[in-house]
Amino acid sequence: MLLKIKNLSKTYDSKNYALRDVSFNVSEGEFIAVVGLSGAGKSTFIRCINRLVPFSEGEIFFNGENLHNANRYSLKKIRSKIGMVFQHHNLIEQTTVLSNVLHGRLGETSFIRSALGLYRKEDKEEAYKLLKTVGLYDYKDKKAKTLSGGQMQRVGICRALMQKPKLLLADEPIASLDPVSAETVMETMKAVNEKTNLTIIVNLHQVDFAKKYASRIIGMKAGKIFFDGTPKSLTEDIIKEIYS
């Protein structure tokens, strides 16, 4: 079991619960899509997994390690094994595409080295390789802000993959992309999942994309898991329920 979540709850204001008693397990190689209305708790859920948001109650075990007990140092180690892709790609736009990809190695690189740009040779080669697979190698020395939305999102994926993660989290990675770029980004993730058996959890609000790419779908509603099953078993009726 790669990820074990037990009775996870989260409240931001100690009144309303964004997550309520969420439990579930993830095995290696799964491609999970989390769907639900805006405000259902998808982002909160995904951010609890790498503790970008500290959770209120419950337990999360990643690779056998208890996240709740992790101190600052071991938390950094855990985070460096979990890649994350964001809706607005969150690249550092004033720096080059290559540096943005190399940021994925920050957790494994000392400050002196990263500040002087002295990343290891194999890290640089890995970055080139990843950029080639997403077709952006020729852009490596361009400022990130000169890329299109879809291209930036692919750079964001490279940054996450650069971490050599055991788990990839993605929070609405295609929500602000045009349909064609959205397909490309989802294809990229699917390819990585199939080729390297990387486990992926992705928040989506388009059910059709979830059905097309995921091996398992979780429907969230008001902070709770409302549905958990294969894409096939997600019927129209259940979809209506989730989105009502």
Binding site: K76, I78, R79, F86, I92, H103, R105, G107, S114, A115
Partner: protein, 509 residues
């Protein structure tokens, strides 16, 4: 990469050279800070509040100067702004003349204007108001003109295409479209003027500054401190209300009543100041005769003046370097999105340092409330005359200014980008270095270059209050009524500041 190294070496050289040429050691400066603070605590505290007795009128006048000066300059600068604007003034010679005039006003430190104006208008409140008007016009006209040209390119084009006449465009287009920016810049000028108004007292305008300086000179430090605290309170209260007003305006408070209110306040203040318009006109009619004295330059004294100007520039630069370095460090401890969550553990006891950002921001707000010349005077009073005191004084006022600006830029950075780097397992310092610095560094340089102009202006002014550099030579010439010497000095300052402005504008782009 090579370019980076070149820049680095260049900046390092520019940072170090002033200290070497002035022959002041960085260590001496840094080690004098503890003795400065212990002197301040021992001698300036507790403040002697008796100093405030019977000085109500002076305090009141300090505020009124700023109100009246700002209002008049807002009006004059509007017309000058139109004259400077490329869109509204197609007559190139007039535009260039207006530009030259405004640039002259902006580039000669206001305290030097004030000391020369004494020749024409004599000592008294008139000087305060006129100096503030001149300085205000210099600052505002350019800001207004930039804004008008921007508006012309975006909004006013449409109006022009309807076939509206020149005056129709100004009345129906420019007036309503420009009002928000006009108010905003004017409020900004008011915040600056309240500080300047306090300082102008030192050169004969009467006001809080004169009292502070007199008490410092007589080494009545506790009395001086009471007055300084009063001044800080005034500045902070003014800023508070101006900020509130700004927030309201942004939320859609109508402009017309506000402007009507400002006009009423203006007339009340002007009449309370007892400004005599007839005296003004009468004195003004003498102006050409007196100014004629200044029409003769004496370039034989130029080398002496240039050397002193060079010293003033170096002092401003050295203060800037120190101020910028420390602001840079403080910023990341104080900005809410970069402040480390520090806890110090002593076996069982834990000390949480999360109050640090609050503490730094508070200290910076207090520091900023003191006009830079007053800070410099306090430091000179504590450490004695000399370059160390001058550099430290300029460094402290740069620190207040830059830290606030830096923090604002850092806090503007999206939390999401910080989050993205955190999620890779980056350390705190890596998040700052790779995530925030690339985004803010160009803004930081812009603030630093802006501050350089202020600093040099301050370091010239500081000579007038007795601390060396070109200002001291000018102050001596003013006491001796040595007109050609003053004229040459002002000319040299103007040219130097003008060149500096050009260089900085170039660098910014």
């Amino acid at each position: 990469m090579n370019k980076k190294i070149l820049y680095f070496v260049l900046i390092a050289a520019i940072s170090v050279l002033p200290f070497i040429i002035l022959n002041v050691s960085l260590l001496d400066i840094i080690f004098s800070v503890p003795s400065l603070f212990s002197f301040l605590f021992d001698n300036f505290f507790p403040p002697n509040w008796n100093a405030l007795d019977g000085n109500f009128i002076i305090v009141r006048n300090t505020i009124l100067f700023a109100i009246v000066g700002t209002c008049i300059s807002a009006l004059l600068a509007f017309f000058l702004g139109i004259l400077i604007s490329e869109y509204f003034n197609p007559f190139v010679p007039i535009r260039l003349l207006a530009r030259f005039f405004v640039s002259f006003l902006r580039n000669v430190p206001i305290i030097i204007f004030a000391s020369i104006l004494v020749f024409i208008f004599g000592i008294g409140p008139l000087i305060g108001v006129i100096a503030l008007v001149l300085g205000g016009v210099g600052f505002l006209a350019r800001s207004y003109a930039n804004n008008m040209d921007e508006l012309a390119q975006s909004k006013l084009e449409a109006l022009k295409s309807t076939g509206a006449s020149y005056f129709q465009i100004i009345f129906h287009g420019l007036f309503p479209a420009f009002t928000p920016a006009w108010l905003n810049w004017t409020l900004f000028a008011f915040e600056i003027n309240i500080r300047i108004s306090a300082v102008l007292g030192m050169v004969g305008a009467g006001g809080l500054g004169l009292l502070i300086q007199a008490n410092l000179d007589l080494r009545n430090f506790r009395r001086a401190m009471a007055l300084i605290i009063l001044l800080m309170a005034i500045v902070l209260i003014v800023e508070f209300f101006v900020n509130k007003l700004r927030e309201r305006l942004e939320k859609g408070l109508p402009y017309v009543p506000i402007i009507a209110f400002i006009i009423v306040i203006f007339f009340i203040s002007a009449s309370a100041l007892n400004l005599n318009f007839q005296t003004f006109i009468q004195r003004l009619s003498n102006a050409p005769r007196i100014l004629a004295h200044f029409a003769i330059f004496d370039f034989s004294v130029a080398p002496e003046l240039l050397a002193a100007l060079f010293t003033s520039i170096l002092l401003g630069l050295a203060g800037l370097v120190l101020g910028a370095v420390f602001s840079f460090i403080l910023t990341f401890f104080a900005a809410k999105n970069t402040a480390p969550s520090l806890t110090i553990k002593f076996s069982k006891y834990e000390l949480n340092l999360n109050f640090l950002p609050f503490l730094i921001k508070g200290a910076i707000a207090l520091l900023r409330a003191i006009p830079s010349l007053v800070i410099i005077l306090m430091i000179i009073a504590s450490l004695g005359f000399g370059y160390i005191a001058a550099v430290l004084g300029i460094a402290f006022s740069s620190l207040g200014y830059l830290t606030k600006a830096f923090i604002a830029s850092v806090e503007e950075q999206e939390e999401a980008k910080i989050e993205a780097l955190k999620s890779t397992g980056a350390s705190h310092i890596q998040v700052i270095y790779h995530g925030i610095l690339p985004a803010v560094s160009s803004v930081f340089w812009r603030w630093i270059s802006l501050r350089l102009e202020f600093n040099i202006s301050d370091s010239i002014s500081l000579g007038v209050v007795g601390a060396g550099g070109i200002g001291m030579l000018l102050a001596r010439a003013i006491r001796q009524s040595n007109f050609s010497y003053i004229a040459t000095g002002v000319f040299i300052i103007f040219i130097a500041m003008f060149i500096l402005e050009l260089i900085i504008d170039k660098l910014r782009n």
